[in-house]
């Protein structure tokens, strides 16, 4: 189960607060997956008491609303990432970035499908640059029109700032430098970059981990 409690001393009216939270959640806690199971209890609450003073934010047109949205979303993203860092049995922190989609919804659906794929996650645990599994998950994302197989590209992006490792370019497999792939997969943090087409301009980011033996041990032992 995911629980979250956020509090701010900024002055925000209830209607604006709900809108701010909902928008922030979409790009943070609703963009993570550890094991693909949605709990019965997931809740994130946001309280604002206005104790620091200043003009009340009452709606999206209020001065400060946009900045508050930006701050809250970035903050919620950082909190959500902490949950992924502590995923049961996870040894990796994986960012899945899907770009060149026709819509944000399309990009998010693809990213979510990849993040939930047990075969992608076990490949990551096994440090295997298995672009085939990533591509497979991309292809079965339901209700997504943005996927153009002949234009899809998959890369691993190291988090140390070095160049991306191209695994698939416009539907054609690359000759992968296995040593470089192994080096990238050795690190705890990794980004999988999927470009869906040559036209769309929308992007979504999802965060997940790998699947390990430990996950099965923890949840095989857990009793209700």
């Amino acid at each position: 189960t995911l629980l979250g409690i956020l509090c701010t001393d900024a002055p925000i009216a209830p209607s604006a607060l709900q809108a701010l939270l909902s928008a922030a959640i979409d790009k943070s806690f609703n963009s993570i997956s550890i094991d693909g199971d949605t709990s019965t209890n997931d809740t994130v609450a946001l309280l604002a008491n206005g104790a620091a003073g200043g003009p009340l934010i009452t709606s999206a047109s209020s001065p400060g609303y946009a900045e508050m949205q930006q701050t809250l979303t970035a903050f919620a993203v950082d909190l959500a990432k902490l949950v992924v860092r502590d995923g049961e049995g996870a040894t990796k922190f994986v960012t899945i970035r899907v770009t060149n989609a026709a819509s944000y919804a399309d990009a998010k659906k693809v990213a979510s499908t990849i993040a939930r794929s047990p075969l992608v996650k076990t490949a990551l645990y096994g440090k295997d640059a298995n672009w085939g599994r990533i591509l497979c998950a991309t292809g079965y994302a339901e209700g997504v029109d943005s996927v153009v197989p002949a234009e899809t590209s998959v890369s691993f992006v190291p988090t140390d700032g070095s160049a991306e490792l191209k695994l698939l370019v416009k539907g054609e497999p690359e000759k992968v430098d296995e040593a470089r792939a192994a080096e990238i997969l050795e690190a705890e943090d990794l980004e999988i970059l999927v470009r869906l087409s040559e036209r769309g301009g929308q992007e979504a980011v999802y965060w997940t981990g790998d699947f390990s033996h430990e996950y099965v041990t923890i949840n095989g032992d857990y009793r209700t």
Binding site: I25, E67, Y215
Partner: protein
Amino acid sequence: RRYSAPGEGSIPPAKQKYVPTSGTYPKGFLAASTHAGVKPSNTKFDDLALIASESPCSGAAVFTKNKFQAAPVTVTRDMLKRRGGSGIRAVVVNSGCANAVTGKGGIEDAVRMGEETDKCFEDESSQPDGNGSRTVVMSTGVIGQRLPLRRIIHKIPVACSGLGSTHQHWLSAARAICTTDTFPKLLSRSFALPSAPDTTYSLVGMTKGAGMIHPNMA
């Protein structure tokens, strides 16, 4: 992994860097935690957390879209709707038992948790207004078991009397909501808004979760 609040010394070395040693916390908010013994096997770790505002505040929440929604989800959603997100005073959270799929009795338990917490704030600003509880209720842990309500109710006043605003108060509360987590997840941040350039605002957030995580909240 163990089913207990990750305390100092038990946090894996690789995760220690994610646990803050200080913070900048929002004015007028207080935190506390205490040991209620929700799970009989937990004999020493705090499993009840309380976050409170010193004055009535705005509240909003998002909830799981799972069709089997736990009692605290139903109760909190109803409370926020009834109040229009106004006049909220606290968040009470227990770990160890999710109070999920517990029928009408579970709903009554969640309501009672909220009402008991309300008693901490029986000041002039929180007189009964006909809209019921002012507390957000959350539970996490195993599904299908009733809460040990008596133990929880007994300890809510203890949490109330322990409310404070130090980093340690916030960190302890973040620990108390953990289940199979290996480290408490707490962040705080200061920020400014162009609508009040001379004012420094703060945000604090705590979260828990390690498994059964694929949130889809609305």
